[in-house]
Subunit: 234 residues, 2 copies
DNA sequence: CGATTGCAGATTGTCAACAATCTTTGCGAT
DNA sequence: ATCGCAAAGATTGTTGACAATCTGCAATCG
C-alpha cells in the first residue's frame, strides 16, 4: 500500500481570497501605486474573472484598510502620510513589545528564542553576502517570528496587517541605505533581551529599533502628502 | 446671498458597508448564532437586495474574522471556544494597557481622563439605577473611550474588532450576575491610575479587570465547544 | 470673457439567470 | 444490517447585461 504523501487540498481557497492576496502584494510592492484608482473592469479582465469576485476581493482590502472606497467614484489605494506612518510604527511597537512580553511571561522564551536566533542569523548571512533584498526579507521575517512566538492568533493577525503597510511604506518611500551590520545588531539585541527574560531591555530595544526606522522614513520624505495622484474626495 | 444651512450628505455609504454593519450587530447580539450557517439567498431577500451586495458584505466579515468561509459549502458565524476567548482577552489586555501607556506618555492624561471619568460616572449612574443593560453599555463605552484616548487610529481599529467579539461572547455565554459597584470600582481604578500617571498600577488594574472577566466567562461555561445553534436568524 | 449648465463617455452599483459543487436521500448488493 | 453508489435537491460561485452615478468637455448666456 502506498503511504499517502502530502497532497495539497483541492480548491482550498475561494477566488476572492486568491485575488485579494495578489492585489495585496501588488499594493505592498508598489505595483499598484498609493493614491491610484483601481479600475474594476481592467483588473477583472487582467485576472481573467468577472467583476463579481473582484469586487468581493476589494471589500476585503477595504476592511483591511489598504483600499479606500468612495461610493460611486471608485476604489483608491490607501496613501500613508507622515502621521499615519508614525501611527503605524507606534502600533507595531505596541504589538511587538507585547509579543515579547508574552513570550517571556507566558510561553517560556526557549522555543521562540531559537526561532528568533535563526531569524537574525539569516539576516547576518544576507548582510555578509551583501544581498540587501534578502536582508530586507529576513528583517521582515524576524518580526513575523517574534509575533508568531507569542502564540496569539489575534496579535498575529493584527500584526500581519501592519507589516503589509510597513512593506508598502518601504517600497513607496525607497528606504535609504543603512549599515547592514547595525541593522542586524538591533535585532540581536531584541532577541537576546528576550532570551534573558529582561523585559525592560527588550522594550527599549524595540522602541529604539522602531524609532530608528521611523526617523529614517519620515526624514527621507519631507512632504506631508507623499505623492499626488487623482485623490478621492474627502 | 443665502447662507447654506447644514445638509446631511447624501448616500455617503455603500450598500455593502450598510449590510456589513447590520450583520455585525446581528452576530454581536446573538441574533445570528455562533456556528450557524448564513444562507445568502435568505439574507439577501431579508435585506431586500440581491446576492451581489450581500456577498460583498460577507467578505468584509470574513476579513474581520467574524465569519468563516468554507468554499462551496457556505458561510458560518465564527464560534469562540475557551482558548479563543482567552486569546481575545489577552489581546484586549495588550491593546488597552498600551492605550493607557500612550495616554500617559504621549497624549498627556488630562483630556482622556476627563472622558474616562465621564464614562465611569455613567456606569455609576446605571449601577445605582439598577439598569444592567445600561451598565453593560457604559462598560463597553469606557473601554472604547480608553483606546480612543490614545489617539491611534490603528489601535482603535484593532480594538473595535476585539470589542465586537467580546460582546458576542457576553451575549452567547450569558454573563453571570456580578456586583455592579465592584464592576464600577475596577474601572475607576484604571482611570485614576492613568490620572496619576502610574503606569504599573494601571497595568495591574487592567490585567486584574481582564482576568476577572475572563474567569467568569470560562467558568460559567465548562464545555470546550460552546453553543451550537441549529437555526439561522428568525 | 468668464461662469454655468447641459451633454456624452466612462465607471460603478445592482440584478437575475446559469454553471459548478456539495449534501441528502434512496436503492441495491454484499 | 451495513456499506457503496447514484440521482435529486439545494446552495454556492460566476457571469454578462442593465441601471444609476460621476467626470470632463463644450456650448450657451450674462
Amino acid at each position: 500500500m502506498t503511504a499517502t504523501p502530502t497532497f495539497q487540498q483541492v480548491r482550498r481557497e475561494s477566488t476572492a481570497s486568491l485575488i485579494t492576496r495578489q492585489l495585496r502584494e501588488g499594493i505592498m510592492y508598489g505595483h499598484l501605486a498609493p493614491g491610484s484608482q483601481l479600475s474594476e473592469a481592467a483588473l477583472a479582465s487582467s485576472f481573467g474573472v468577472s467583476r463579481g469576485p473582484l469586487r468581493e476581493a476589494m471589500q476585503r482590502l477595504v476592511q483591511e484598510g489598504l483600499v479606500l472606497a468612495s461610493p460611486n467614484r471608485g476604489l483608491f489605494v490607501k496613501e500613508l502620510d507622515q502621521e499615519e506612518i508614525r501611527d503605524l510604527y507606534s502600533a507595531r511597537t505596541v504589538l511587538e513589545s507585547a509579543a515579547g512580553r508574552l513570550i517571556i511571561r507566558e510561553q517560556g522564551p526557549v522555543p521562540a528564542v531559537v526561532a528568533l536566533r535563526e531569524a537574525y542569523d539569516a539576516m547576518q548571512t544576507a548582510a555578509e553576502a551583501g544581498d540587501l533584498t534578502a536582508l530586507s526579507d529576513a528583517d521582515f521575517h524576524f518580526h513575523e517570528v517574534l509575533v508568531a512566538g507569542a502564540g496569539s492568533p489575534r496579535l498575529r493577525r493584527m500584526h500581519d496587517t501592519l507589516m503589509v503597510e510597513t512593506r508598502m511604506c518601504l517600497t513607496a518611500l525607497q528606504d535609504t541605505y543603512r549599515d547592514p551590520e547595525e541593522q542586524v545588531q538591533e535585532h540581536k539585541d531584541i532577541a537576546e533581551a528576550i532570551a534573558e527574560g529582561d523585559e525592560s531591555r527588550m522594550m527599549s530595544a524595540i522602541e529604539e529599533h522602531m524609532n530608528e526606522a521611523l526617523t529614517r522614513l519620515i526624514s527621507g520624505q519631507s512632504t506631508p502628502e507623499p505623492v499626488s495622484h487623482p485623490a478621492p474626495a474627502p
